[in-house]
Amino acid sequence: MENGEEMELIRELLYNSGEPLSEFYRWLHKAWAGFSVPPVFLDLMIQFAVAAAVFGFVAVNALWIIYYERKFSAKLQIRIGPNRVGPLGLLQTVADTVKLLIKEDINPSKVDRVVFILAPGIVFLGTFLTMLVIPFGNGLIAADLSIGILYILAVSGLAVIGLLAGGWASNNKYSLMGGMRSAAQIVAYEIPVLVVILGIVMLAGTMKMGGIVEAQAGYRWFVIYQPIAFLIFLIAANAEINRAPFDLPEAESELVSGFITEYSGMKFAFFFLAEYTNLFIVSAVAVTLFLGGWEGPFFPPFVWFIIKTYAVVTVLMWMRWTFPRIRVDHLMQFSWKYLLPIALVNLLVTAIVIKFI
C-alpha cells in the first residue's frame, strides 16, 4: 500500500468513520463465513466489543470529568485543587475510585436488600444505555437508531426509578424525601425538554441523532434558529440530572445526602459515575441538537464534538458553583409556570414558521 493511500485511509477513518466501519464489519462477516459457526455469534461478539468500548469511555470520561470539575471549581474559588497525586493531581480521581471500590460495602440491617442493591445498577444502566446513541463523529455512533432522540428521552427516564428505589429502600426518612423530590423534579422537567426537542425534530425532519447533526451542516446550527429553546434545554436538562442549583434530591444542607445517604463503597461509586456521565450526556445531547454536533473546521469530527461538549459541561459547572439552591416549590413553579409555557409558544412559532415560510 502506498503511503498516500494509507494517509487517505486514516483521514477517511477520522472524518467519515461510518463507511470504513461498515466495510470492516462486512469483511469480518466474510472471514467468519469460513468457519462453520452461525454469524449470530459474531454479531454478539461485535456488540459486546462495542459495549465494552462505550463502558471504557464512560469510566475514563467520568474520571476525567470529576478531575476537571475539581480543578475548575478550585479556579473559581481561588484555590489550587488536587496537585499531589500523580502529575498535576491527575491520578486523584483514580485513587478515589480504587478506594471506593475496595471499601467495605455496607448493607444496613433494615434496608430492603434487593432493591437497595439493584438501585445503583438501574441508575447506571439508564445512563449507560443513553450513551449508545451519542454521535461522537460522522458514523462514530454505537447504534444510530431511527428514533434516537426518542430513545434518549425514554431511557434516561429509567434513572428516576433507580433514584426512587434507592431512596425508598434505604429506610431512611431523608433518603425517602430525596427520592420523592427527584421523582417530582424529573417529571416536571422532562416535559419542557420534550417540547423543546419536538421543535428541533420539526426543523431537522428526523429523529435520528446522525440525521439531526447532518441537518445542521453548513453551520446552520439550530441554536441560531432556536436560542430560547437552547436556554430552556440547558436549564431543564440541568434540573433533570440533579445538579446544583437544582440538586434538591441530594441537597446536602437539607437532606444530608438525600437518596444516597445510606450508600457506601461501590454502590455509591455507581451513583457517582452515573451522575457525572449524565452531565456529559446532557452536554453531548445539547451539542448534537443545537451546536451542530461534530461539525467544525481543521480538527477531526470527534475532536470537535468533545471540545463542544466540554464547553457546555463548563457552563453547567459554572452554574453549579455560582448559584444557591432553589427551593422545592419554586423549582416546580419554575417548570410549570415559566419553562413549559415558553417552550410551548416556542414550538407553536416554530411550527407556523416551518409551515408557511
Binding site: 424525601m177 444542607s253 455560582t322 444557591p324 439552591r325 422545592v328
Partner: protein
C-alpha cells in the same frame, strides 16, 4: 440510652412523622439536635434539643481564680472571643472599681470590631453552604485569614485569643499591626459590595429568604432576641449606642436596622454591620491615643462582695456576664448570658408551616453558635 422526650411521645396525626435533625447534620452548625414534626416537606412544629457540647464552664469558673476564668470565656464563642472576654472583664472591673486607661479601651474596641467582622464573615461562609451556594465560603475565608493573621500578631492565637486581662489588654499593638489593618480596610468595603452582589442580591437567594421566617417585634422582645436578629425586626437597639461601654461613645457609626424581620433582612443587616465595623476600625486606628494599656490591677484579685451584670454587644447580640463575688479570690458564681441561647429559643415562633429548606435558611440567618448555647 436514648430517652424519648415529651415531644416525640405526643400523638401524631396520620400524615405526620417525626424527623430528628442532628446532632450530626450539615446544617446545624455544630451539634444541635432539632426534633421536627413534619407533614411531607412542611414543618408543623419543632423543638430544639441543645446540650451536646455542654462542658460545664460555669461550674469550672466557680473553681478558678478571677484571672483564670478568662480563657474559658474564649471557648464559649470562638467566633467572637473578645466579646465574652470583654463582658467578663467589664463585670470584674466594675466590681473592683478599676478604670481602664484610654489606650487599653481603644485596643479593646479594635479587637472587638475585628472579631465582629470575622464572625459575620464566617456566618456568610456558612450561610452560603446552607443555601447550597458553595463558593462564598472561600471568599469569606480569604478575608478571615487576613484578619486572623493580624489578630494573631496581637494576641498570639488565631481563634481563642485570650486577648484581654482584668484592667486592660495583654499586649500593646505590635509594629506593623496598624499598617496591616489599614491595608486590609483599604479594599474591604469593595469586597463586601462584591459578595453582596454575588450572593445576597441573587434572585434565587432573595426568593428563598424574603418574607421567610418572619419574627415580629413584640415576639422578638419577649423572647429576648438581640443583635442583628432583633434589629431586623424593626427595633434599633444596639448596646454600643444604648449603653456605651469601653469608649464606644467616641465613635460615630450607624445602627443598622430593617423592618420586616425576615431572613433576608437579617442577612442585609450583617452585611451592613461589616461596613460599619470597618468604619469604626478606621476611626479607631486614626485616633489611637498614647499611654498605658492596662490599669494596675492587684496580683490577687479580690473584689468586694456583691453582684454585677455587664453586657456588651457581640456579633450575635447581647453578651452578658453576671459575676457574683463573695469576697474571696474565686468568683462565687459566673453566669454568662449568651445571645444564641435566646435567639434559638425563638426558632419555633418563626418556623410554623415552613418547608424544610426554609428551616435551614432560617437557622442559618439566626447565626447561632452551639457552644455558646450549651456552655
Amino acid at each position: 440510652m436514648e430517652q424519648k422526650t415529651a415531644f416525640e411521645i405526643q400523638e401524631l396525626t396520620s400524615d405526620e412523622y417525626v424527623l430528628s435533625m442532628g446532632p450530626q447534620h450539615p446544617a446545624t452548625h455544630g451539634v444541635l439536635r432539632i426534633l421536627l414534626r413534619m407533614d411531607g416537606e412542611v414543618v408543623v412544629n419543632l423543638q430544639p434539643d441543645p446540650g451536646y457540647i455542654h462542658s460545664s464552664i460555669e461550674k469550672i469558673c466557680e473553681n478558678r481564680k478571677y484571672d483564670q476564668v478568662m480563657p474559658y470565656t474564649d471557648r464559649m464563642d470562638y467566633l467572637s472571643a473578645v466579646s465574652y472576654n470583654l463582658a467578663y472583664a467589664l463585670a470584674v472591673e466594675k466590681l473592683m472599681g478599676l478604670e481602664v486607661p484610654n489606650r487599653g479601651r481603644h485596643i479593646r474596641v479594635i479587637l472587638a470590631e475585628m472579631n465582629r467582622i470575622m464572625s459575620h464573615l464566617l456566618w456568610f461562609a456558612a450561610y452560603g453552604i446552607d443555601m447550597g451556594a458553595l463558593t462564598p465560603i472561600w471568599y469569606a475565608f480569604r478575608e478571615r485569614e487576613n484578619l486572623i493573621t493580624l489578630i494573631e500578631m496581637q494576641t498570639g492565637n488565631r481563634l481563642t485569643h485570650h486577648a484581654l486581662r482584668i484592667g486592660g489588654v495583654k499586649n500593646d499593638l505590635p509594629t506593623g499591626f496598624v499598617e496591616g489593618l489599614n491595608k486590609f480596610l483599604e479594599n474591604f468595603n469593595d469586597m463586601v459590595d462584591e459578595y453582596e452582589a454575588l450572593f445576597i442580591d441573587n434572585v434565587i437567594f432573595k426568593a428563598r429568604t424574603k418574607s421567610i421566617g418572619v419574627l415580629k417585634k413584640e415576639n422578638a422582645i419577649s423572647y429576648g432576641v438581640t443583635g442583628p436578629n432583633l434589629r431586623a425586626s424593626g427595633c434599633d437597639i444596639d448596646l454600643r449606642k444604648l449603653a456605651p461601654y469601653s469608649g464606644y461613645e467616641n465613635f460615630s457609626f450607624e445602627v443598622c436596622s430593617e423592618k420586616n424581620g425576615d431572613s433576608w433582612d437579617r442577612c442585609k443587616i450583617r452585611m451592613n454591620e461589616m461596613r460599619q465595623s470597618a468604619s469604626i476600625l478606621r476611626q479607631a486606628i486614626d485616633t489611637l491615643p498614647e499611654g498605658e494599656i492596662s490599669a494596675k490591677a492587684p496580683k490577687i484579685i479580690k473584689p468586694t462582695p456583691g453582684g454585677c451584670y455587664a453586657k456588651v454587644e457581640g456579633p450575635r447580640g447581647e453578651v452578658g456576664a453576671y459575676v457574683v463575688s463573695a469576697g474571696t479570690d474565686k468568683p462565687y458564681r459566673v453566669k454568662f448570658r449568651s445571645p444564641s441561647f435566646s435567639n434559638l429559643s425563638a426558632l419555633n415562633e418563626m418556623c410554623a408551616g415552613v418547608k424544610i429548606a426554609d428551616l435551614v435558611a432560617i437557622m442559618g440567618s439566626l447565626d447561632i453558635v452551639i457552644p455558646e448555647i450549651d456552655r
